[in-house]
Symmetry: C2
Subunit: 147 residues, 2 copies
Amino acid sequence: VVPERQDRIIAAIRESGGRVTTARRALVSALVRADGHVTAEDLAETVQKDHPDVHLSTVYRSLDALEHIGVVDHVHLGHGRAVYHLADERHEHLVCEVCGRVQEVPDAIFEQLAAELLESYGFTIRPKHFAVLGSCRGCATRTPSQN
Amino acid sequence: VVPERQDRIIAAIRESGGRVTTARRALVSALVRADGHVTAEDLAETVQKDHPDVHLSTVYRSLDALEHIGVVDHVHLGHGRAVYHLADERHEHLVCEVCGRVQEVPDAIFEQLAAELLESYGFTIRPKHFAVLGSCRGCATRTPSQN
DNA sequence: ATCTTTGCAAACTTTTTGCACCAAT
DNA sequence: ATTGGTGCAAAAAGTTTGCAAAGAT
């Protein structure tokens, strides 16, 4: 178990004036146990194993609340659902358009790009918000399937 | 006018076995005249000025066809609509999360990152597919509004 | 007691699809 | 004459919202 992180998040909810409910406790637990790249629906399913009447809309609303207090971030990996993860996971996503696999890479890889965009364009990137699409090692020669 | 590009695209449609219809001609014209960053709905509106009964679904289907033959690409700039542009525009998008402004930067900026990801992870990026989010010069100090 | 959060159902937004008709080759 | 494209309406997919009831402080 990873109790510290959960407790820290629960505390953050309380500090922000939010209330700690069963649904939120379960959601935080699901987020901490998830390996990242989970959709709201994934999280809802996990939560619903123990608390079957927690509704998907509650998950969305709670994720929104957690995002507002900086605990959670979400990323659009392509078409369809967004994926959510804890904000303290400092990594980016590489999404293979051929096989669909998602790989995490350390944030540091983007530092050079960030510096260049800042110097040349005055643009400060917040890279976590979007994934980098392409093809992974095994799929490099094949054509990316349309998405 | 920019007739060469239109003609090249029309030819490409024909070469791919596709048919050159009024709707497609108008769509290609709208794409060429657009400054990039146009949604399917933007394009539909432009097309409908001259051809009011071209349906949004036709625009989607034609964009899809053009994307299949490599003429068009689309990008998700955040929540909501995707934006489409001609594939021969070699640039990326920087989207400011504060003021919403979209800035184009040359592809070359991403070469170093591409090389690093390829060497370290065997990952070949297709960067055009997603935008880089962050804050532009004027907005750098302000907090990005939640999106 | 108060004020937030919840469950539900329904709305909403963007994109896709089924189908019968039309049009390009 | 074929076969692919089109308009329309309706479905899908993902997310948001209004409301009254339930729950946390």
